[in-house]
């Protein structure tokens, strides 16, 4: 029931964001229509970082409590974070082409996201090469902790490296009120979508465990 409410809330906000991004918001003067990507690109990045923070918390909780639930939560959040950050990287690339004439720029935030993408891909590669569930959760937990601790260092080093080159100005006149409102609507839309997906995905993993338990029961009974 609660998930239904969450779903309709995020669907409504997403529809509102369509209107805000496509119709309501004024076109930015220097970059033109393509700047509208920004309203999805930036919230995607923020929510992805939040998702990886949840992975960090879930990993710590798992390693201390050893309750499978925390691993389900952490790995679900890692998966959704990976989906969001992949979309963020692709849209960043699509934005870079008309604006700077290249498909990729080594901009600090974009570069940090790329490194994060690799870390959480590794998170799933490690899981894939382990058969025992408990060990999977343990190792993934360690990657979830170490990977997240790395975020500030990656960002710091990339920023320091890139500031030796001319900085990029994204906005000539700052965010005006309608732009800010649009950004906030998109942020809320993705935020609720994330919470909805996280609960959906975590419950799915609980169900998977239930299926496994039932199967074992049947196997036992049939000798």
């Amino acid at each position: 029931m609660k998930r239904k409410i969450l779903f309709f809330l995020s669907a409504g906000l997403i529809l509102a964001s369509f209107y805000m991004v496509l119709v309501f918001v004024p076109t930015e003067r220097d970059m033109g229509v393509v700047q509208r990507i920004f309203y999805y690109h930036v919230p995607l990045a923020w929510i992805a970082f939040m998702a990886f923070f949840i992975v960090f918390i879930g990993s710590i909780m798992y390693l201390f409590k050893r309750k499978p639930f925390w691993d389900y939560l952490a790995s679900s959040s890692a998966e959704i974070g990976l989906v969001f950050i992949s979309l963020m990287l692709i849209t960043g690339s699509i934005w870079a082409q008309p604006t700077w004439g290249v498909w990729w720029i080594w901009e600090p935030r974009l570069t940090t996201s790329l490194i994060l993408w690799f870390i959480y891909v590794a998170y799933f590669i490690v899981r894939g090469y382990i058969s025992e569930e408990e060990k999977q959760a343990r190792f993934a937990g360690v990657v979830g902790i170490i990977g997240f601790l790395n975020v500030p260092l990656v960002f710091l080093s990339v920023t320091l490296w890139r500031t030796q080159h001319p900085p990029l100005t994204i906005f000539t006149e700052g965010l005006v009120a309608p732009m800010m409102a649009t950004l906030l609507v998109c942020l809320f839309a993705f935020n609720f979508l994330y919470i909805y997906l996280l609960s959906e995905r975590t419950l799915m993993k609980l169900d998977e465990a239930e299926v496994k338990r039932l199967k074992e029961n049947i196997m036992e009974r049939n000798g």
Partner: protein
């Protein structure tokens, strides 16, 4: 309006990506529920 195509491309990528993800989730979820129901029934039948 000269770069509206890029905007549209990004828009399509985001929403088709998310829709595909949600769709896969729903399908697996439905299958799991079916499995749980079947397994529970066969457990009850046996006892």
């Amino acid at each position: 309006m000269e770069n509206a195509g890029y905007m549209l491309a990004a828009f399509i990528v985001i929403w088709s990506g998310l829709l595909a993800y949600i769709f896969i989730l729903w399908r697996t979820q439905a299958k799991l529920h079916r499995d749980i129901k079947l397994l529970k029934e066969s457990l009850e039948d046996n006892s």
